[in-house]
């Protein structure tokens, strides 16, 4: 018994250093040397200022930007507090929230479901191509842009399935809005 305890303590200490310190530090070192941007969250700079991560969604509510999905992370897209809504399918709170989103986003037609449902992480950077197309008429009006031109921009921004097979086609909302600002800056 005593021998087991001594071995346990020694084994814990030695392997803790190997698995808990050496292993993550080696991975960090090599990743930082070989894949720096990816290892640091693919931050995007504009005019010398960091304006976001290519992987993390941001809140957009103004009519001149494409909107992302409702977010349950903190007060919305809080990337230090990721979370889903965790509301179940028979939850009254879920129905009320979706009704509010439908009112806010509706252009008369039925809204693509991802645009009015909260994501799992609360940080989903993407919306479906359908949800992006749904917003084209509003954004085009606000930005004084031709709808056809804006539809083209959306189509160019679509990320297809990986290898044509994996996942779902999607539109990165921050990427689309940055491209939109380049195409036709917001008039203030």
């Amino acid at each position: 018994m005593k021998k087991h305890i001594i071995t346990s303590l020694l084994y814990t200490a030695i392997t803790a250093v190997l698995l808990g310190i050496v292993y993550p530090l080696v991975i960090t070192g090599v990743a930082q040397l070989t894949m720096r941007s990816r290892a640091n969250g693919q931050l995007i700079t504009r005019n010398g200022e960091i304006v976001g991560s290519a992987l993390i969604g941001q809140p957009f509510t103004g009519p001149g930007y494409f909107h992302g999905r409702p977010s349950a992370a903190g007060t919305g897209y809080d990337a230090s507090s990721s979370s889903g809504s965790n509301l179940g399918p028979t939850s009254k709170a879920l129905m009320d929230r979706v009704e509010g989103s439908v009112k806010a986003e509706s252009n008369g037609a039925d809204i693509p479901v991802d645009l009015v449902t909260a994501s799992s992480s609360g940080l989903d950077p993407d919306i479906s191509p359908a949800a992006a197309m749904y917003q084209v008429s509003r954004v085009a009006r606000e930005r004084h842009l031709d709808s056809i031109r804006l539809q083209q921009l959306v189509m160019q921004t679509v990320t297809p399935r990986q290898f044509g097979l994996l996942g779902e086609p999607r539109v990165n909302v921050l990427g689309l809005n940055l491209a939109l600002d380049r195409l036709q800056p917001m008039q203030r």
Binding site: T7, P24, A31, G41, G52, P59, G84, S85, T90, L165
Partner: protein, 587 residues
């Protein structure tokens, strides 16, 4: 359901089955201490580790010694994690200056990671420092998985050996599992994850300027302007790799594998699901090879695939349907959207990958999530719950899945023996009353903990019900799921439940602790008993364990035991909720 969805699911299971044989053969070589291509590098490390810890690798252990060594080691690792959590503020690698973790939560988390559960009552990015995640939590992802592997191998030796008192050496099995299997695969996998965008750094959280400032009304009714976003960072990829490979499932971030920094692309998602099943599928082949009956390994694997498919089909079908209560919403699947029940799911994964992930993570005792099970449709959410209730033997956790499955195998041959009125035999070993008693003990501890704790909790409005996020039958499901997940050492959650209270932290910790260790003891007792038995030659009356008939019987026994035990409880949760949802009820 779409053709593309089924193609992705088909590709996934094809990859699992293709890798099972090479993985299984490699593990056989590792645990039978035969030559492998990694020996030149790892051999010296192994010998140095034995010297440094006073292990005599040739020493054989009886089942009692093996179990005691496992228990003392688990206790030592648990202690380390508890201490690191309690003093993290004074240790390095804490750029956000996160406070020391309070005792109830620290204890719950230490037990959670020691037992391979990875239940998380906390939000990691605002609770655990980088050092705690690396040294206190990721280490357990290696240790607890290697412990599971070692126990499974000991059980298999119990079947394979004849008239022997010993099952191998715990320290040797543990070491070989870590050095030859978990660590090398994790290193490769971690780099693959970084290449997809999983972050790996030690820097403080980034603050970025929002493109569009937001007016936000807080809970106190005050409106403030938010113009920046704080982005949590950390050494994620190194932890993510072993989190999946070791079927641990404890997320670096609160949103787990749905967080874009943990699981950024469909490929990273595919690899994560594959890595959950990699070792459990391979272990079936290892079983077949070590007991000199390869077909038996495939027969067991076949039963797992059947149950996996049933779960995936149900979950995918349920989630592809819209929530009927939502109005003015287009939930049809098309080329431009995946449609279905998208609440709590990520667009890049859509319905197929979310339903598949939920099935895989609960078939195995992983518990990582890429979508929120709490927001699944009632029947879609029932699948993960039922998967755990069946004992997580469908592939199952690393090691734990195989030894759980083997207990069901013992039950199956016992029942087959009863049906024809012969003494049941399993691979030449007579299954006698002691073995069946231990198997029943293993099978009964599980529902006792789940149903007992759930029943007590729903009777306590202040301690139990006040933590619920949803009401009606869904609230009951949240509680049932929590104790199911804890006892089954899964760690996924109907995460609306606020489990960071004294009652939940302590009761779930108890469920996790006994759900792991109290089930290991009878399992190891069976292994010890089997190892000591004589081998009797097979006769025409022996029930073969290599045929499709055996696969059907095994599947049937698992389903019948699960249904008899848990049907009433499941009826009060997901089944009732499904009926009420159809009737248009809300809560």
């Amino acid at each position: 359901m779409t053709l593309n969805g089924w193609l992705q699911i088909g590709l996934f299971i094809a990859a699992v089955l293709l890798l099972a044989k090479p993985m299984g053969s490699y593990m056989t070589a590792v645990f039978e201490r035969r030559k492998t291509f990694l020996d030149p590098v790892l051999g010296p490390c192994e010998r140095a580790l034995y010297r440094g810890t006073g292990v005599h690798p040739e020493e054989e252990m009886r089942w009692t010694h093996y179990t005691v060594a496992m228990l003392t080691f688990s206790a030592a690792t648990m202690l380390l994690t508890y201490i690191v959590e309690r003093v993290q503020l004074w240790l390095p690698l804490n750029p956000q200056h996160l406070a020391n973790v309070e005792p109830a939560l620290a204890l719950n988390t230490a037990i959670s990671f020691t037992t391979n559960t990875n239940w998380q009552s906390y939000t990691p990015e605002s609770t655990m420092s980088y050092l705690t995640q690396m040294l206190g939590l990721a280490t357990h992802n290696f240790w607890s998985a290697a412990v599971g592997l070692a126990l499974a191998i000991a059980f298999v030796r119990g079947i394979a050996r004849r008239e022997m008192k010993t099952l191998g050496n715990f320290w040797v099995d543990l070491t070989r599992g870590i050095l030859w299997i978990l660590l090398p695969i994790s290193i490769v996998f971690a780099f693959a994850l970084v290449s997809q965008g999983v972050v790996q750094n030690m820097k403080p959280y980034d603050t970025v300027k929002l493109l569009e400032s937001q007016k936000v009304t807080g809970a106190d009714g005050k409106t403030t302007t938010v113009s920046t976003q704080t982005i949590a960072q950390g050494p994620v990829a190194s932890q993510e790799a072993i989190k999946m490979l070791g079927t641990n499932g404890g997320g670096f971030f609160n949103a787990n594998s749905s967080h874009p920094f943990e699981n950024p692309t469909p490929l990273s998602n595919f690899l994560q699901m594959l890595s959950i099943f990699l070792i459990p599928a391979g272990l079936c082949i290892t079983l077949g090879q070590m007991v000199r009956s390869p077909k038996h390994g495939w027969a067991v694997l076949a039963a797992m695939v059947v149950l996996w498919f049933a779960g995936t089909l149900t979950s995918y079908w349920a989630e592809a349907h819209a929530n009927p209560a939502l109005r003015g919403v287009d939930s049809h699947s098309s080329l431009a959207q995946s449609g279905g029940n998208m609440e709590g799911k990520e667009v890049r994964f859509g319905i197929a990958n979310s339903a598949l992930f939920a099935t895989v993570t609960t078939d195995a005792s992983c518990g990582a999530v890429n979508s929120m099970h709490d927001s699944f449709t009632p029947l879609g959410g029932m699948v993960p719950m039922v998967n755990i209730l069946l004992g997580e033997v469908v592939f199952g956790g690393v090691g734990a899945g195989l030894y759980g499955m083997l207990v069901f195998v013992v039950m199956s041959v016992f029942i087959a023996g009863l049906m024809v009125g012969r003494t049941p035999e399993y691979l030449g070993k007579k299954i006698e009353s002691f073995d069946v008693q231990m198997a029943m003990l293993y099978l009964l501890i599980f529902p006792l903990l789940i149903l007992g704790f759930s029943a007590v909790t729903v009777l306590m409005p202040n301690l139990g019900l006040s933590s619920l996020a949803n009401h009606g039958p869904h609230g009951f499901s949240e509680i049932l799921y929590a104790y199911t997940s804890a006892t089954g050492n899964n760690g996924s959650a109907f995460a609306g439940l606020n489990a960071n209270t004294h009652w939940y932290n302590y009761s779930l910790a108890t469920a996790m602790f006994f759900g792991r260790f109290m089930m290991i003891i009878p399992m190891m007792a069976i292994a010890g008993s089997l190892a000591a038995k004589k081998s009797v030659p097979a006769t025409s009356g022996t029930f073969p364990v290599t045929t499709p008939l055996f696969t059907v019987l095994l599947t049937g026994v698992i389903l019948i035991v699960g249904a008899l035990t848990f049907f009433p409880a499941v009826t009060l949760g997901p089944v009732l909720e499904h009926l009420l949802m159809r009737a248009g009820q809300s809560f």
